[in-house]
Amino acid sequence: MTAPGKGAWLVQQEVVLAMLAKEPSHGYELRARLREALGPLGDAMNDGQVYVTLARLEKAGLATSESSAGRRDRPDRKVYALTAEGQQRVSGWLAEVSWPRPDLAEFHLKLIAAAAAGLADPLAIVDAQRRELLRRLRDAQRAALAEPDRSAAGLLLEGIVLRLQADLRWLEACERNWTPRKDHR
């Protein structure tokens, strides 16, 4: 998600925004939350990136900052909070179903942020994504089954089917993880 490709910064902005939705936070707190959520994948994240993103968010009117006690020129001393507009952007991002396929890290962070901020039920987000994937799976599978054995086109379609299945299986794992545990089950 930090690859400098098309739209990468946008994703990053929304992830950072969503993590602010829980409560006003220092930059280093956000960084720690991202690190925790991404595990070893977060190691590659440039520490300065969170601050750059926060500055951009502030400039765009999506976040505000307030200097807390201590030296005013240190970014670490600033506490960031969402503006109303920022709040709106987060809600929109949580509700949006990404397609053609969700970026794994983006989707993962979306669930974490949704749960932390209490803005959306992670299971509802999983359900929405699953609906989308299953419709595509149905289309791809029908097309694949309509092909004769050993057709070249069938092979390509089978690849699509298998990828969709893998995505759906991961959603099952997400569902298990975010389902509230019951003692008697």
Binding site: L134, R135, L145, Q165, E172, E175, T179, H184, R185
Partner: protein, 250 residues
């Protein structure tokens, strides 16, 4: 697209409890369900969510703790044991994960058996079994024992058996659960075939490929329905983007 007609299966507030007091587990929790004639419905959910219990209730294999259940116009949750057994035999076809074929009977005999039990003549049962084995692509395996058939072939025999009494409803419980991917494709083709023939079908599964053959998909968690998706008539068509074809057309 199929013509979707009157309600074949209808459940209201269907419930199944196990244990009591502190240890009470509600395996099926106030389920409402309507399956229309010609419709294929899949119920999906993690293991332990109650979907198999639900299927057993819907097929009269187990008794609900509460709620009401109708098959077409007949209320069936209060039927006596014998009437219920007759109803299962005549009006419902079952397909199970482990096939449940009789090991000592041939494929054809397995398919004929329910028709004979329902009082059909031996000749008519044999003719119907032959038709169905042909339909599932196993005409040349009619004399084989289950042990001489592959997993996918056994499940196709079981599908033929489920259809032998022209049931109003077919219920399938993890029909691909014991199959490898090639055999799964065979069963998928059969389900697509049943679907286009207008067979009313309800399948519980955690295999997304089988679920994707349905018109409507219901997600189940902790004994209750939590989400419903209509797979037909939705957005679709840009499969190319999944195969990386987007950039090639710009």
């Amino acid at each position: 697209m199929n013509d979707v007609g009157a309600s074949v299966l209808r459940a209201r507030g269907l419930r199944k409890d196990y244990g009591k007091g502190e240890g009470l587990v509600r395996a099926v929790d106030e389920v409402d369900l309507d399956v229309a004639s010609g419709e294929t419905v899949a119920v999906m959910g993690p293991s332990g969510c109650g979907k198999s219990t639900l299927l057993h209730l819907l097929g009269g294999l187990d008794r609900p703790s509460g709620g009401e259940l109708w098959l077409t116009d007949q209320r069936i949750d209060q039927l006596g044991e014998r009437a219920l057994a007759r109803l299962r035999r005549d009006k419902i076809g079952f397909i199970f994960q482990a096939f449940h074929l009789m090991d000592e009977l041939t494929a054809a005999e397995n398919v004929e058996l329910p028709a004979l039990l329902a009082g059909r003549s031996a000749r008519s049962a044999r003719r119907r079994a032959a038709e169905l084995l042909d339909r599932v692509g196993l005409a040349d395996r009619a004399g084989h024992l289950p042990s001489q058939l592959s997993g996918g072939q056994r499940q196709r025999v079981a599908i033929a058996r489920a259809l032998v009494s022209d049931p109003q409803l077919v219920l399938a419980d993890e029909p691909t659960g014991n199959l490898d991917s090639q055999a799964t494709v065979e069963v998928l083709r059969m389900f697509e075939d049943l679907h286009s023939a207008g067979q009313t079908l309800l399948v519980v599964t955690h295999d997304s490929r089988i679920a994707a053959t349905s018109d409507r998909l219901i997600s189940m968690r902790d004994g209750a329905f939590v989400d419903e998706t209509r797979l037909t008539g939705g957005s679709s068509g840009d499969l190319g983007s999944l195969a990386g074809l987007n950039g090639l057309t710009e």
